[in-house]
């Protein structure tokens, strides 16, 4: 664990992936349990950063397979063995992982990547178009279809904020958000739900009454208008002036570049 992170000033030299990692890391508390799925470079880097700074007791279940691993750095796959090297325990998916996830006492937060996300935080990784005759067949829901319905607090990350990925209504709900908004989710007996959406332009949250997506902060150098233009529906605004997303600190940037992800895997998620 680094001690320099607390006093480190905001960085001038940083990239948006590093900013997104620092925001994701800030959502984790010391003592949380976190797990990651496939192609999750930003969450994995955020877990590794949180452990090295404010959350040394964050327990990480890597790839939902290896407990408290010691990967040398972010590897090319966030599901394969190099991620879970030197684990203290292997966790079996069928009986173990889903038992811990479903139980309710552990793994309270989950990071979600989604092809489409709508104004009420419903996510789609299944199809574009009709389910039975899709225009595009996407990979599939995997564990998200569960995570949206079992009380988890969901943190979405989206490296390519656009009207195609942030849509008024998803073509297909493969992960339950706030459904039609308001109390519709609560009426089904579902706890938890979407908390934040962290994109390459802004941090978004959900207005408590309507459950409609709202701007929480815009990244340095980005305007509210740019965020709105890149979104497929009208975003709510917070009361007062829209805050600026805090920049990562110099020490956070150093840790990401030198220790956590020297190979730059985190950049793979961004459209070039």
């Amino acid at each position: 664990m680094s001690s320099a992170w607390q006093d480190s000033p905001p960085a001038d030299d940083y990239t948006v992936d590093e900013l997104m990692i620092s925001v994701l890391a800030s959502t984790l508390s010391d003592g949380d349990q976190a797990c990651n799925g496939m192609a999750s470079f930003l969450p994995v880097a955020a877990f590794m950063l949180a452990q090295r700074t404010h959350a040394p007791n964050l327990v990480w279940l890597a790839g939902a397979a290896g407990l408290s691993p010691r990967p040398a750095k972010v590897p090319a796959s966030t599901l394969e063995a190099p991620l879970w090297r030197d684990s203290v325990m292997y966790v079996e998916q069928y009986g173990d992982f889903w038992t811990y996830a479903l139980n309710g006492r552990w793994l309270e937060k989950f990071c979600v990547g989604a092809a489409q996300l709508d104004r009420y935080g419903n996510a789609n990784n299944s199809v574009i178009g009709d389910f039975h005759a899709p225009k595009v067949r996407l990979p599939g829901t995997a564990g998200l279809g569960d995570m949206g319905s079992i009380g988890k607090r969901l943190y979405f990350w989206n490296p390519n904020h656009s009207p195609r990925s942030l849509v008024p209504k998803v073509d297909f709900v493969s992960c339950a958000g706030y459904l039609g908004g308001g109390d519709e989710r609560a009426r089904l007996g579902l706890e938890g739900g979407p908390e934040l959406v962290i994109t390459n332009l802004a941090v978004l949250d959900f207005e408590p009454e309507s459950k409609h997506m709202r701007i929480r902060s815009v990244h340095p150098g980005v305007t509210v208008e740019q965020v709105q233009e890149a979104t497929g529906f009208e975003l709510l605004l917070p009361d007062g002036e829209v805050p600026e997303t805090p920049r990562p600190t110099q020490e956070q940037v150093r840790l990401i570049r030198e220790e956590i992800d020297p190979d730059g895997m985190r950049k793979r998620e961004f459209r070039r």
Partner: protein
């Protein structure tokens, strides 16, 4: 004791046209690829695949026209991208998809394994995945709690898995342990079970570490020795995924003719595992793929 050792040809013959086939495969990990190649060589048709997360195996079978339905949670080669031949098959209406969340697939297989009509899950409530699927029904909790989703039992005709070692009686060991439901529950749910292994060993070897034996011989119909049988997927801790071949396939799969050519070269032409290993650069090259951390 019954000798369960079979050739790849004999074992693949336990899969019939039209069967529902539970296939081990976690994205780029641990698929019984030698069996997959043999099924393609034998020209199997009309298969339904069951995978937690299917990868290249699903795409090869889709390219060969061997499958017409998929039951599972996802199909992807993770950092190597979507499975394009599978995707085209679905978009063209040749492959029907029953998409399940992970707990729903686990529940369907768990019910099949235990001879139950269904098992419930709390996942999926509120999603559209329930509406498109006759095998999922929201039911009231008989004890008064919130509703749950009943997931109908799934009994695949055959399970195909790859493991580290087995004895001639079909007792199967993995090392280090069971990670995915593929080998944990699929073989228990399926009517027939075919296991390829890196090596067939004397029973005495299993007796040294019985805690690593995860399938009893009585539940296994055929066991086949196929060194590097999961290549080009990874097989922890023996070898990593073949990044070069995944990329080569990902490129070929975007074009039907290139995909067919790829299958001719690596699947149809090599008549044995030895010839296949020669075609992909030899066993030494596979062992060198431990550089997979950055590939």
């Amino acid at each position: 004791m019954t000798d369960k050792v079979r050739s790849l040809e004999e074992a693949a013959a336990l899969v019939s046209d039209g069967d529902v086939v539970a296939l081990q495969n976690m994205a780029t990990q641990a698929a019984p690829m030698a069996l997959v190649r043999e099924l393609i060589r034998q020209g199997r048709r009309g298969l339904g695949l069951v995978c937690l997360v299917g990868g290249m195996a699903v795409d090869w079978l889709a390219a060969a026209g061997a499958i017409d339905r998929f039951i599972g949670a996802a199909v992807t080669m993770e950092q190597f991208g979507l499975c394009q031949q599978y995707r085209r098959g679905v978009e063209a209406g040749r492959i029907r998809v029953e998409e399940l969340s992970e707990t729903a697939l686990n529940a369907r297989l768990g019910a099949g394994a235990r001879n139950l009509p269904f098992l419930p899950t709390r996942g999926l409530i509120g999603t559209d995945l329930i509406d498109i699927n006759d095998n999922l029904v929201v039911i009231d909790d008989p004890f008064g709690g919130p509703p749950v989703v009943a997931c109908r039992a799934l009994v695949p005709d055959v399970a195909l898995v790859h493991a580290h070692r087995a004895d001639r009686n079909g007792n199967v060991q993995v090392e280090p342990t069971i990670l995915w439901p593929d080998i944990g529950i699929m073989p228990k749910a399926a009517r027939r079970v075919v296991v390829t292994v890196e090596e067939i060993v004397d029973e005495e070897v299993l007796r040294r570490n019985p805690d690593r034996t995860i399938l009893p011989g009585f539940a296994v119909d055929a066991v086949v020795e196929v060194p590097y049988g999961a290549h080009p997927t990874s097989f922890h801790p023996y070898y990593g995924y073949d990044a070069h071949m995944h990329r080569e396939w990902a490129r070929a799969a975007t074009d039907d003719a290139a995909a067919a050519e790829f299958l001719d070269r690596y699947v149809r032409k090599p008549a044995s595992q030895t010839e296949y290993l020669d075609a992909v650069g030899g066993a030494d090259a596979i062992l060198r793929t431990v550089s997979w951390e950055t590939a």
